[in-house]
């Protein structure tokens, strides 16, 4: 993974970054497969739409989550958003730093602002239902056009 530049690692759709090494939901969550587990969070578009995130209600460790069912919320001053789990399984770790620093989701949505690590229960099947970076970028283009 070394030696690549930003343009290979991600693409920009308008002001929104789409990482090439992630899969996406139509509701603006991302998934990264790491050693059989999945790390999940919300996308750059999601954090920019919400603007200043002041509170994240995290799922509990050990909790069972289902693909595209709510697992928590992200709140800005004015808005509340449900965060859907992109994958079914058991929450094995949550990003405790978000309790004190929910703004990490704004500052670093794909890295330090991750939300949970999930041990997937039906990974191969469910990955097929997610969007590739190109498909997600197309979805963003459609959303921007409508604005």
């Amino acid at each position: 993974m070394s030696g690549e530049n930003i343009s290979e690692r991600s693409i920009m759709v308008d002001e929104y970054e789409v990482r090439m090494d992630l899969l996406y939901t139509e509701e603006h969550e991302w998934v990264k497969v790491e050693d059989g587990n999945t790390r999940v969070g919300v996308t750059d578009y999601a954090q920019k739409s919400l603007h200043e995130i002041v509170y994240v209600e995290l799922p509990k460790e050990g909790m069972e989550v289902k693909q595209m069912k709510p697992m928590g919320t992200a709140e800005s001053i004015k808005a509340v958003s449900e965060v859907y789990s992109p994958i079914s399984g058991r929450v094995i770790k949550i990003n405790e730093r978000l309790r004190e620093s929910p703004e990490l989701v704004n500052e670093s949505p794909y890295d330090e602002g991750w939300i949970a690590l999930i041990e997937p229960s039906n990974l191969d099947e469910e990955l097929k239902r997610l969007l590739t970076p190109k498909q997600y970028a197309n979805l963003l283009r459609k959303i921007i056009e409508k604005k």
Binding site: E27, E29, Y55, E57, I77, K78, V80, S81, R99
Partner: protein, 389 residues
């Protein structure tokens, strides 16, 4: 992730939406959303930064979406005395007074501020969402009163300048006379030859002014002049989101949240806008009955003890029993905790009592507190501490 913005919704249906004369500034520098039929700025730099600019220094708001009505004629005061909850006969010229238009049940049709501009002339500032309803209600009840009602909303831009350094900024444009205006009073000024009414009023809890410019075309010049005068104080343009968090921290009601036609000023704890004297006014009987016999619900402040943000519509519980509901809530940018307002049965309204708020199924503990939410010695227009210039 599904994003719901509530009343301050993002733009999606722009058909038939109104814009204020300053719209091009908002579109260039801010995030636009719709509110009360207007496309308005939700924020520019960010809610927290704008909010803190007003608490610590000075902020400028385009509030031209608010309704501005003029009632004139020999019986103008008599009409207001009859259709509103306050008495306008003894009001001094250039002074402002709060009141409510109530229905016969005492429910609030609208809350407003009225300035007495002359013996037979009153200038009303009403809520944007209620303007047309108010005009209809006033006309229906004008009957035999010798008055004329004029809607000046689209002819008279309104700008609010709020914060502990607001007078420092405005005196550079309008001179020392601006500092002499007392709270809830107004005075006439000239801006580039245009008559401008300036009042020491606001909706943030801080010292501040509201400016009404009698010539629409000069609105940009006035906005720019204030931005320039305020630049040494790091003035920030502020959107509706900060306007909402500021009024909430100050404990002020927002029509549609704390006030509606099923809620009375007595229940909202706003007796200062209701005067019972020997005159008759619409809703008097119902309001008097509540003062004598008590209310079914009363407005309280809620301060979270456990983590979470109260939001409109959430239930308030005590010992597992539902005792009320939340009408407004936010993360307080100043206190950095969840705060809110709501209505509870009077027996559960004691300051210091603990209640639970149902935050999407989780019960989070909150305390009933007094308004404002901040320490009055440190913030707000009566602050004792020196300014952090």
């Amino acid at each position: 992730m599904q994003i719901s913005f509530g009343r301050l919704s993002r733009r999606n249906d722009v058909k038939n939406m109104k814009r204020t004369v300053l719209f091009s500034f908002h579109e260039k520098h801010g995030r636009i959303g719709k509110y009360a039929g207007y496309e308005m700025p939700l924020w520019y730099k960010g809610v927290i930064s704008e909010h803190m600019a007003v608490r610590d220094r000075v902020g400028i708001f385009d509030t031209s979406h608010m309704g501005r009505l003029l009632i004139k004629g020999s019986q103008a005061a008599n009409l207001l005395n009859y259709i509103s909850t306050n008495n306008y006969s003894q009001l001094d010229v250039m002074k402002a007074q709060h009141a409510f238009l109530c229905n016969s049940r005492g429910g609030v049709i609208d809350d407003f501020l009225a300035f007495k501009l002359g013996e037979n002339e009153f200038f009303l500032v009403v809520n944007a969402m209620n303007r047309e309803k108010d005009i209809k209600w006033i006309k229906e009840n004008m009957g035999s009163f010798n008055v004329a009602l004029l809607d000046l909303t689209e002819k008279v831009p309104m700008i609010a300048v709020q914060g502990p350094l607001s007078s420092n900024a405005l005196r550079k444009i309008f001179g020392d006379e601006i500092v002499k205006i007392k709270h809830m009073w107004s005075s006439w000024f000239s801006f580039n030859g245009v008559r401008t009414l300036i009042s020491r009023t606001g909706y943030t809890g801080e010292d501040g002014f509201e400016l009404y410019l009698l010539e629409e075309e000069k609105a940009f010049d006035l906005w720019d002049a204030i931005m320039k005068a305020g630049s040494e104080f790091n003035i920030e343009p502020c959107g509706l989101a900060a306007r909402d968090t500021l009024r909430l921290e100050a404990g002020f009601c927002l029509y549609g949240n704390e006030l509606d036609e099923e809620t009375t000023p007595i229940e909202a704890g706003l007796k200062f806008g209701v005067r019972f004297d020997d005159r008759e006014f619409i809703g008097k009987e119902a309001l008097l009955r509540q003062v004598r016999k008590g209310v079914r619900k009363i407005r309280v402040g809620l301060r979270m003890i456990e983590r979470g943000i109260p939001r409109k519509g959430m239930s308030i519980l005590k010992s597992g029993k539902e005792i009320g509901y939340v009408t407004s809530g936010t993360m307080s940018p100043l206190l950095k905790i969840g705060i809110g307002m709501g209505y509870v049965s009077p027996e559960y309204s004691r300051v210091g009592d603990r209640v639970k708020i149902s935050v999407r199924g989780r019960l989070a503990e909150a305390e009933i507190v007094k308004f404002p939410f901040y320490d009055k010695r440190q913030y707000g227009r009566k602050r004792e501490t020196n300014l952090k210039a």
